[in-house]
Symmetry: C2
Subunit: 266 residues, 2 copies
């Protein structure tokens, strides 16, 4: 049995009770932290909290050599842990398919996603979001600025009046704690600066969603690009047209200047 469990957004308490119970029943637990990272905890704290050893696999250890995980799951109750939701990345779907091919039962215990947080913390309505995009570090996509596909997706959403959730690039070592000096997390101010195509447009930075002290700041992208929002993870939302309650929430809860909000009203 292979149970995929999403750890949620921030620390060891972001998991669901159901996920915690799956871990308590498990014979072995594996994890990967190269697709995302829980910034509010460590592997050691997760192990202590859940009372189980967690075998952290690097990218090759999941994608090229999943046999250790699958062999274990054939014999025992195995949990595979990821930050955020599980199944967010194709690599997890691929692992689930491999288990399925070997006749191993699989189960998915969902986790809280950045999408929930982007909507819940900003007051922007979840059904008014279009396609989400990921903004890569410029060096990572081999060009200057922003990939055309990102521009096109934001533009297509804006044409329909829809909000865009912009995931910000992270480059992390495979094993948390071991290679943390090289970790890079794109911040909201850097992202706002990269999107200079819409510098007068309204943006919302969400920092440390899921933590006890998230920061949510709404302003023109040009203004956000010169602010600081503290430690990772950050998200950026580019609102489309606003309904009145959304406008009120951005102004009263997220500090958006009233004139900027006014311009975005439907």
């Amino acid at each position: 049995m292979l149970t995929f469990v999403g750890l949620g957004l921030y620390d060891e308490r972001s998991i669901t009770v159901e996920g915690r119970e799956a871990l308590a029943r498990a014979d072995r637990a594996f994890a990967e932290f190269y697709t995302s990272r829980l910034v509010g905890t460590t592997v050691a704290d997760l192990e202590a909290y859940h009372g189980i050893d967690i075998e952290v696999r690097d990218r090759a250890g999941v994608e090229q050599h999943p046999e250790a995980i699958l062999d274990a799951a054939q014999e025992e109750a195995v949990v595979f842990l990821t930050a955020g939701d599980t199944m967010i990345s194709t690599t997890h779907v691929d692992l689930r398919m491999r288990a399925h091919d070997r006749g191993i039962d699989t189960r998915v215990v969902h986790g809280v996603t950045a999408q929930s947080a982007a909507s819940g913390l900003t007051g922007l309505q979840n059904y008014r979001f279009g396609k989400a995009v990921t903004l890569p570090f410029p060096y990572a996509h081999g060009g200057d600025g922003v990939p055309p596909s990102v521009i096109e997706s934001i533009e297509a959403n804006r044409e329909r009046g829809l909000h865009t959730l912009v995931y910000l690039d992270i480059k992390v070592g495979d094993v948390p704690g071991k290679q943390s000096e090289g970790d890079e997390f794109m911040t909201g101010d850097v992202a706002a600066g990269l999107l200079r195509e819409w510098e007068d447009a309204l943006g919302v930075v969400v920092a440390r969603a899921g933590s006890p002290d998230p920061v949510v700041a709404a302003d023109r992208l040009s203004a956000l690009s010169s602010e600081e929002f503290g430690g990772p993870l950050h998200l950026l939302v580019i609102p489309g047209t606003l309904h009145h309650l959304e406008a009120d929430a951005l102004r009263d809860l997220c500090g958006a200047p009233p004139d900027v909000v006014e311009e975005s009203l439907a």
Copy 2:
């Protein structure tokens, strides 16, 4: 202090550990179950599990008369519970704004959403979903069939190759247990039948997401419209174009006929 806590998708164990701890620390807990419903538990079971009385408010008791909640939150630690994520509905954002206006500190403890489940259980990638829609009961929108806005949104997503999550209408009494005879939940087969505009297109029904035994079934909408998927809640996904891994997942994990999947490949 007013803490909004999302209960997640199914039963009393769908909440996060953080949400459970917020309830344990709370002096009073309010809840509403008219925007969504946890079908795997009851208010009595939630109360027993969390060791706190839960004061269920009907729509008027939240929207027209929120004073009881706000007065309590001014003096004590109050938790406001909803099914799924919190802040999904405008009514919750409105309550948070009212608290903010009265100088009451608010906090949001996110819950797992149907969006996570729609993506996680089907293998469809979350960043390839466009705008979500809600399919209402025909009698509820005063017309035949499907509202033009729903058709347009699905069509706009399909033109961009994006998947559409279709929330299915629920009509529930304000107080679970009390008025349950009149409760109506649109099922996946009914939804698939309503969308006859795309009867040859691929659809995926997700039933009881977040429960221990979710059912996920992919086929042409015309075929899904004559199947049965058991008890509520159901969701419907209309995939756009498929990447190879998505196609494999729909075929191997969701039972989609190979020829139908083939037609949807990017």
